[in-house]
């Protein structure tokens, strides 16, 4: 019996070691305060939305991350406040240029293991091959161009600035995938406190009721 357990245990450990081959994600702390989200949104709307849609976000949702009504009106132009955020270039054209329609970004943080950390790591993984072409460690042969020029970044100050801004982008994309997360966690704290107290009461009552049984 013990032998079986130790055998299977040993086997499992060696197998998990074999299975993990993709490079690990970078450890990065993401803040979700309104100012951060707002700055992340600016990058996403100005750069990424050139190619990517954010289909499950509506223009009015931007009010929640610190945009003013006037700014939202400026962004949406003729569209309704309830219109969803589309890519600036039409999907057909993007498909022709890149071979794929770039994936929608509003759920990307949930659709990849690691969420915001995945996005952050993806952009940090662009590098220049000896022949001058650009590739990505995390996603080899990615069809997304190195839009922020990460592979050719040599100045440490510039690199630091890029990483700072990418952290905000990642945080915004996490918010976009799950806009109620902050409310959920806030509520969860009270729910758990309440449950803890009521469970304690049940335990005390159970003990009292059972005191004549033992």
């Amino acid at each position: 019996m013990k032998k079986i357990i130790s055998l299977t245990g040993g086997l499992l450990i060696s197998l998990t070691a074999l299975a993990s081959e993709t490079p690990p994600l970078l450890d990065v702390e993401l803040q979700h305060d309104t100012a951060t989200l707002r700055q992340g949104a600016d990058v996403v709307l100005n750069v990424c939305a050139g190619c990517h849609s954010l289909h499950y976000l509506k223009y009015r949702d931007l009010l929640e991350v610190g945009f003013t009504q006037a700014e939202v009106d400026g962004l949406r132009g003729q569209l309704e406040v309830t219109a969803t955020i589309a890519a600036m270039s039409p999907p057909d054209m993007l498909k022709e240029t890149y071979g794929v329609v770039p994936p929608d970004l509003s759920l990307i943080a949930k659709a990849r293991k690691g969420g915001g950390r995945y996005v952050y790591t993806l952009f940090n993984s662009f590098y220049q091959r000896p022949d001058g072409t650009v590739d990505n460690h995390l996603f080899p042969n990615i069809r997304m161009p190195d839009v922020l020029g990460v592979a050719s970044m040599t100045d440490p100050a510039q690199k630091k600035e890029f990483q700072e801004s990418m952290r905000k982008v990642a945080a915004f994309l996490e918010w976009a995938a799950d806009p109620n997360a902050a409310e959920r966690r806030g509520m969860g704290v009270y729910v758990l406190i309440y449950l803890f107290i009521i469970t304690l009461l049940f335990w005390l009552m159970k003990r009292r009721i059972w005191s004549d049984v033992h």
Binding site: M1, I4, I5, T8, L11, L12, L15, L18, A19, Y56, D61, P103, L107, K110, A111, R112, K113, A177, D178, P179, N180, R184, R185, M187, G188, V191, L192, L195, F196, I198, T199, F202, W203, M205, K206, I209, W210, V213
Partner: protein
């Protein structure tokens, strides 16, 4: 306590108070039940939770291949507390299986599947199958990549049906591939099955109240050692419920995506197979058994057997010694070996199909079925060994008592038959 006039009125026409008294407040339960006996109640609680959250989700959900995925996002983002409903429901499905698997493990460990509780065990088995069907169909509804390809792979297994395989698959899907027709019928059945489950739970409980709970000692307790359900076990169950809810809400509010595959946040795409299709964690051991057999028909048969074989337990365990693992070291060792083997299968089921994994899966599958196959022999040998080695007095007395009543019953039967034959 004087009764309310309305209650009096009802009691003259319907056994309302009598039912409550007999089946709930004064229903007698062995006092030594451990917390492992809480899980049946918890399963009932989760069933209600799923139905309530499900009904509210269904008010906003759209069972249409073009709209389903977006309607879930609509629930998550626009419906007031829609995220709470959805996360309770998706976490609830996993919680249901956690609770049910523990409930079954308790039954196996303490041998509660044996006479006179076979019908409880078998009605439980039907509940497990119905629950699995419900969860499988529910998983298609969000119409994500995993939903779609999981349903595609699993419905495709029915192709193994001899002679009419292709027709069966089309009949199940309502189309040649999983599509709008499939989604629509899965939604209807996913809505309907929980009500079937309610009915079967009713039977399960009627049987329970007829044969009554077993207990960890395996010995029938004296009358004074049986205490009323209320307030003793109602409060014990409530405390257990509190612990369950603390863990459950921990997931719902802080790790709600723990049970949702990242791939399922990508809308279903019939043209793009995900690199690695995995079912939900609660199907993994059976999925590993399916993949362990290289032949499709063989795999399907093995997988089906791996679930149905539980039904044979009352016959496979031939020991008369009560209390399941309590007094039986070999049975106990086999129980734990089974738990370890299931964990290995769960792990293998989640991994990509490599050669090493296939080998581990095959070994674990062989162990899985061997444990059931050797049980009749081991249980009989173990019984003989334990009789020689000696068992606690109460246990021997109980076995003797059962033999006695058995003998009496049999001789009564014989006399009856003799009489009948005499009359002829």
């Amino acid at each position: 306590m004087s009764k309310h006039p309305v209650v009096q009125w009802i009691d003259r026409r319907f056994p309302f108070t009598a039912f409550f008294k007999h089946e709930l407040t004064e229903y007698k339960v062995p006092r030594n039940l451990s917390y492992w006996w809480n899980f049946g109640f918890l399963a009932g609680f989760v069933l209600v939770l799923q139905v309530v959250s499900g009904v509210f989700l269904a008010m906003h959900y759209k069972p249409d291949a073009q709209l389903a995925f977006a309607s879930i996002e609509h629930i998550m983002r626009d419906v007031n507390y829609g995220w709470l409903l959805r996360y309770m429901h998706s976490t609830g499905a996993s919680a249901f299986f956690v609770v049910i698997y523990i409930h079954m493990a308790r039954t196996l460990y303490y041998g509660s599947f044996r006479a006179p509780r076979e019908l409880m065990w078998w009605s439980g088995q039907v509940l497990l199958l119905t629950l699995m069907a419900t969860a499988f169909m529910g998983y298609l509804l969000p119409w994500g990549q995993m939903s779609y390809w999981g349903a595609q792979v699993i419905t495709n297994l029915f192709r193994a049906t001899p002679f009419i395989g292709d027709q069966v698959v089309v009949w199940l899907r309502g189309d040649f591939v999983v599509g709008d027709a499939t989604l629509n019928r899965f939604f209807v059945l996913h809505f309907f099955f929980p009500f079937l489950i309610f009915g079967i739970v009713g039977l399960h409980l009627v049987a329970l109240h007829f044969v009554r709970s077993s207990n960890p000692s395996g010995i029938n307790l004296k009358d004074e050692d049986n205490i009323s359900l209320h307030p003793y076990f109602t409060f014990k169950d409530l405390f257990g419920l509190g612990i369950f809810l603390l863990i459950f809400c921990g997931f719902v509010f802080f790790y709600p995506d723990f049970f949702i595959e990242p791939d399922n946040n990508i809308p279903a795409d019939p043209l793009k197979t995900p690199p690695h299709i995995t079912p939900e964690w609660y199907f993994l051991p059976f999925y590993a058994i399916l993949r362990a057999i290289p032949d499709m028909l063989g795999g399907v048969v093995a997988m089906t057997l791996s679930i149905l074989v539980f039904a044979a337990m009352p016959y496979l365990d031939r020991s008369q010694i009560p209390g399941g693992s309590r007094y039986r070291p070999f049975y106990r060792a086999m129980f734990w070996a089974f738990v370890v083997d299931l964990s290995v299968l769960t792990y293998v089921g989640a991994q990509p199909a490599t050669d090493e994994m296939a080998l581990v899966g095959r070994i674990a599958t062989i162990i899985y079925f061997s444990l059931f196959m050797v049980l009749p022999i081991i249980s009989k040998r173990e019984e003989a060994w334990l009789f020689v080695r000696g068992l606690p007095q109460e246990v021997m007395a109980m076995i003797a008592g059962e033999k006695e009543s058995d003998r009496r019953k049999r001789s009564m039967d014989r006399r009856k038959t003799e009489r009948r034959q005499g009359e002829e």
